[in-house]
């Protein structure tokens, strides 16, 4: 399942990642794994109970579901999480396995850096993903399943993402999914003046797409299961509200529908749409489904006069539209490569102190132990002689330690490989390094906002 990703000499970091993304799985599979916001906490706690999982975080966006974990036995843990994923998707492991990717150690951290920097996004440079990674950290902290090692990786990932955004042109004029949605609807309707746009579900993305259509003269109507959020969105984008209970009535009047609910099952079923099309007397209907799991039943796409675009369709267009970003992406990758090296060096550096201490304790422990054994058998010696022998043993131990300690402290770059060497040579286990920056978990309910499945990454 995994190859050792640790370069010879580099300090080992016990991080693994396993997941599916737009690169490996179509929306039809991703939607089975998507974790709805109110399930996130429980899911995280369940994941933490899996064998070997010491720390865990779950990134669930409409484009990817990834589990980051700290585990000493990478293979066993990845197998356990993989089995858990297939159980959640109600699929056989053999079915889901081709869509799953795993990374361990250095590669796992690098993957996190790339994801946070939007280099792994379908629409490279899109800005939402960083916020989603931040929420991932906050949610794991609140669930009490986060820890020092992941905290360091995530904190560094945020910094790297910022650097990639600032140092490259990657985030300039990103092709937005909402503008592609408008373009898609243009294949059905010549203009949107006076056209009725129905927004089903009050997600962030529907907000953007609705605004874009309104700018072209469309009349907006919002419907949402929770009335208050419909009112809120309607006030924000300038539209009226239609009762959720009369979804069919709202659809009958609409020309374009933007769907982004957080529902687990399709809200706009084939049966409902077929019924609505009768009432509409066959008028063309354009459905833009930006939700994961999808809101429009796939079977509805072949209805007469009904045109459906889902998130993958739209993003594919967006991605095609920015092929010229390859150069920027390459610059971003170079930054990632540099940063991962630096991160592991720092990681090793932070392990230096504990390693030196462990080495001292180990060597001096052996030396003092042997001295004590010797002195026990030489009971006739005077106190002065005993002190001299103890001092000689102690000095010998310290002299042995002197050169290795100097070497470790002299050059932090070299120290990274030396730390690993020393750990290996002396069979040392160091305590976990302290976090890189203040990663104190925030009080529950503070900071993070619940992620919406409609937000793309």
């Amino acid at each position: 399942m995994s190859d050792s990703a640790t370069k010879p000499g580099a300090p080992k970091i016990d991080v693994v990642v396993i997941g599916v993304s737009h690169r490996t799985a179509p929306v039809a599979l991703r939607e089975k794994l998507t974790v709805v916001p109110d399930q996130l906490d429980a899911t995280l706690k369940e994941l933490k109970t899996l064998p070997g999982v010491r720390e865990v975080a779950l990134l669930s966006t409409c484009n990817r579901i990834e589990i980051y974990a700290v585990a000493s036995d990478a293979d066993a843990t990845l197998r356990a999480i993989g089995a858990d994923l297939s159980r959640r998707a109600s699929m056989l492991e053999a079915e889901i396995e081709p869509h799953i990717y795993t990374r361990v150690e250095r590669d796992a951290v690098k993957h996190l850096f790339r994801v946070a920097s939007s280099l792994d996004s379908l629409v490279v440079g899109e800005p939402q993903i960083l916020g989603q990674v931040k929420e991932t950290k906050e949610l794991a902290e609140r669930a009490g399943v986060f820890g020092n090692i992941l905290a360091q990786c995530f904190e560094r990932a945020f910094r790297v993402a910022k650097r990639v955004r600032n140092d490259t042109e990657i985030a300039r004029n990103p092709v937005s999914v909402s503008s592609i949605a408008v373009e898609y609807a243009r294949n059905v309707f010549a203009d949107f003046r006076g056209r009725r746009v129905l927004v089903v579900g009050a997600g962030k993305m529907s907000d953007l797409a609705a605004r874009a259509l309104r700018a072209h003269g469309a009349v907006l109507t919002v419907t949402n299961r929770t009335r208050a959020r419909a009112d809120e969105l309607a006030a924000r984008v300038g539209g009226d509200v239609h009762a959720w209970e009369d979804l069919a009535g709202a659809l009958a009047k609409a020309d374009v529908v933007i769907a982004s609910t957080g529902a687990q099952r399709p809200v706009l079923t084939r049966e409902l749409l077929a019924r609505v099309q009768k009432v509409r007397r066959g008028r063309l209907l354009c459905l833009i489904d930006i939700a994961v799991p999808r809101d429009v039943e796939p079977e509805a796409a072949d209805l007469e006069g009904v045109y459906v675009a889902n998130i993958d369709d739209l993003q594919q267009v967006a991605a095609d539209g920015q092929k010229n970003r390859a150069a920027e992406a390459t610059a971003g990758e170079a930054i990632i490569e540099e940063e991962i090296g630096r991160f592991l060096q720092d990681w090793g550096g932070r392990q230096l102190g504990p390693t030196v201490t462990a080495m001292r304790t180990h060597v001096l422990g052996v030396v003092h132990g042997e001295a004590d054994k010797l002195l026990a058998s030489l009971g006739h010696l005077a106190e002065k002689d005993r002190a001299a022998i103890t001092a000689a043993f102690d000095a010998a131990g310290k002299k042995v330690l002197h050169q290795p300690q100097l070497a470790l402290k002299r050059d932090p770059g070299e120290a990274v490989s030396l730390v690993a060497a020393v750990q290996k040579l002396f069979g040392l286990q160091t305590a976990e390094a302290p976090p890189e920056s203040d990663a104190a978990p925030p009080a529950a309910g503070e900071g993070a906002t619940p992620r919406r499945p409609g937000d793309p990454s």
């Binding site: 373009e183 898609y184 059905v188 309707f189 010549a190 007397r281 063309l284 006069g305 267009v317």
Partner: protein, 260 residues
């Protein structure tokens, strides 16, 4: 073949190539200009023939040329108002084919002096066919784009597509304008035949009469289905093509009979 005809055919051919190129990424401007030039040459051509006493409905080739002219002109006028560039890839070749059939097909003696009733029938039938022709072009484009959109190929459409709603509405408009014209043509045709029968003892019911009637029924059903049954989109497009197919068959029968 006159220089004018050669220029005319050349302009239509160029417009066809340029509009097809538009679908593949060329700019639409060149195609528009070429087609406009073709239409202007065609006006001059038709006018010149009229001056020489050859009116557009005096024979089948003249009628074909006239239909081509009406299709091209109708398209050019409609494209001033609507975003129809992708339809040009169908309209321009259609006009070209009609003109080729008219000019390069077997020549035909002009029908000797016809009664006003006969002239009215042929004129209206020609205009009706031209309008149905445009409806059929729009229907073909509708089916083409519908397929692209359903196959998620819309990235390739790159904003070049004529919006489906526009195509559907324009085709419906063509059919509802063409239908009354075609109805009057059928009625005047029936009266004309009846009168010829009385005058010359021609009573044989030819197959094209039946075919013309079936075509008329097909378009009638389409209008009723649209208004009453909410038939839109693909089904309406297929029915339009069916009706137009009937029209083409009627024309073909005429054409072959006269050529024989």
């Amino acid at each position: 073949m006159s220089t004018l005809t050669v220029l005319e055919l050349g302009a239509y051919a160029l417009a066809s190539v340029l509009y097809l190129g538009f679908l593949l990424g060329l700019r639409a401007r060149a195609g528009r200009l070429a087609l406009a030039a073709a239409v202007v040459l065609h006006v001059i051509d038709v006018g010149e023939r009229c001056v020489h006493g050859v009116n557009p409905i005096s024979s089948t080739p003249e009628a074909l040329s006239f239909i081509g002219f009406l299709v091209a002109t109708g398209y050019v006028l409609a494209s001033l108002r609507y975003k129809l560039d992708s339809a040009g890839a169908f309209a321009a070749p259609a006009a070209l084919v009609l003109l080729v059939l008219a000019r390069l097909g077997p020549a035909e003696e002009a029908t000797p002096a016809m009664s006003p009733l006969g002239q009215t029938h042929i004129l209206l039938a020609t205009i009706g066919v031209a309008i149905f022709f445009i409806a059929a072009v729009l229907a073909v484009l509708y089916l083409f784009e519908d397929r692209q959109l359903r196959r998620k190929d819309f990235a390739k459409m790159k904003g070049r597509a004529t919006p489906l709603d526009t195509l559907d509405r324009l085709a419906a408009g063509c059919v509802s304008i063409g239908f009354p014209i075609f109805t009057v043509a059928i009625v005047t045709g029936a009266m004309w035949i009846a009168r010829l029968g009385v005058l010359h003892g021609m009573r044989a019911l030819r197959p094209e009469y039946l075919l013309a009637f079936v075509t008329w029924v097909a378009f009638g059903v389409l209008i009723v289905a649209r208004v009453g049954g909410g038939w839109r989109g693909r089904r309406a497009a297929w029915l339009t093509l069916g009706g137009f197919g009937g029209t083409v068959l009627v024309l073909l029968v005429y054409f072959l009979r006269h050529a024989a």
